[in-house]
């Protein structure tokens, strides 16, 4: 009854690890940089796109993420995993983009309505089969994700789509482990409610 967790991008077999590649890049090996870009561009694009909800913005942020990785390669220290570092950069840039948008649209009814309430009891009129069999498009799921506030959106994307462990998420977002668990739980409940509304409508 459990889901198979989506594997995160990890080196397999004889492939060099991310940490080995960044170390090589720090010593001037540009090929190692190319390999890291190749390894991370798809999962990062997916993460950023789900975070900001716009393909164009996501691609710009992804460009900026890799450019920062190039400029600030010497700031990386091997005490942290490379994936944690690069996802932290991307997440911070995505949050900055959302803050810019918030400034542009200072007040929006839609955002106001998406405050993080605790879950409500499920509607008994919708049968589980109806919910499970219903066709919810990607766009509708994306819309439900975007209704979450950024702090909840980020953790659920990292956990359920990117497949990071709670410890890794705590490092990426820089919050305590307990807070990560609580946010993931609340975000799931909120999404569950919203997707159910979509099925009902």
């Amino acid at each position: 009854m459990t889901f198979k967790e989506k594997p995160a991008t990890r080196p397999t077999g004889t492939q060099p690890s991310d940490e080995e590649l960044i170390a090589r890049f720090q010593q001037g090996d540009a090929y190692a940089y190319d390999l890291l870009v190749k390894r991370y561009k798809d999962p990062l694009m997916n993460y950023i796109y789900r975070f900001v909800g716009s393909r164009t913005d996501a691609e710009d942020i992804l460009q900026e993420t890799f450019l920062r990785m190039y400029k600030n390669k010497h700031y990386y220290r091997e005490i942290a995993k490379f994936s944690t570092w690069i996802y932290t950069i991307a997440g911070n840039l995505a949050k900055t983009e959302l803050r810019k948008r918030k400034r542009r649209h200072f007040f929006s009814i839609n955002n106001y309505m998406s405050t993080d309430k605790d879950y409500e009891l499920p509607d008994k009129n919708i049968t589980p089969d109806k919910y499970a069999d219903s066709t919810i498009t990607d766009a509708e799921i994306q819309k439900a994700i975007e209704k979450l506030s950024p702090k909840f959106r980020q953790v659920i994307l990292l956990r359920d789509i990117q497949g990071f462990s709670y410890e890794e998420i705590a490092n990426i977002v820089n919050i305590p482990l307990g807070t990560v668990k609580s946010r993931v739980n609340r975000a799931r409940l909120r999404l569950q409610q919203d997707l159910k509304k979509i099925v009902r409508d």
């Binding site: 459990t2 889901f3 870009v37 997916n46 996501a58 499920p122 990607d138 799931r188 999404l191 997707l195």
Partner: protein
């Protein structure tokens, strides 16, 4: 004994398969008896499944090329910013060198000191002007009559007659 609220507290661990076997068995047994809770759990599982099966969004085909151009621009920008500094230092040191050469060739700097006969030794120079006597300053003592009287003298005398003592400290 589990109830609906306690069961829902275990939802996350159940979804992520981190419950110990005994608790898991107990929870599954409870879900068989509680239809509302069972529905809730199935929906939660389904929500997660939907998230995990979302389509993967990839960058455009031009992504690599654009990134390469941005990196090249960054590297060139770095070189540009370092060149002016180098240019300025070269110009300054060149100017200093030219100035030094000019001063060496076209001024007396750098020439060997000349022992000209017309130059008078410093020891022979006298600061006294011949034939002049130095002025003598005399101290003068003023006449008693020219000293101005103390303006308070009269008042002090009058107060003494009245027995008023304004000068000494009061006891």
């Amino acid at each position: 004994m589990l109830d609906s609220d306690k069961a829902k507290m275990l939802l996350n661990d159940y979804i992520e398969d981190t419950l110990d076997p005994a608790t898991r068995n107990e929870l599954e047994a409870f879900l068989q008896t509680d239809a509302e809770c069972r529905t809730f759990f199935r929906e939660a599982m389904d929500t997660r499944r939907r998230l995990q099966s979302l389509s993967v969004v990839t960058p455009s085909e031009q992504f690599d090329e654009v990134l390469r151009q941005r990196i090249v621009a960054y590297v060139q920008e770095g070189e540009k910013t370092s060149h002016p500094k180098r240019g300025v230092s070269v110009m300054v040191s060149g100017g200093v060198l030219l100035a030094a050469l000019y001063m060496f060739f076209f001024t007396d700097i750098g020439m060997a000191p000349s022992h000209d006969e017309h130059v008078m030794p410093a020891s022979t120079i006298s600061t006294a002007v011949p034939g002049m006597k130095p002025a003598v300053q005399k101290a003068t003592t003023p006449d008693k009559a020219s000293i101005p009287k103390d303006s308070m003298e009269t008042n002090i005398r009058k107060d003494a007659q009245k027995g008023i003592d304004l000068i000494s400290d009061p006891k």
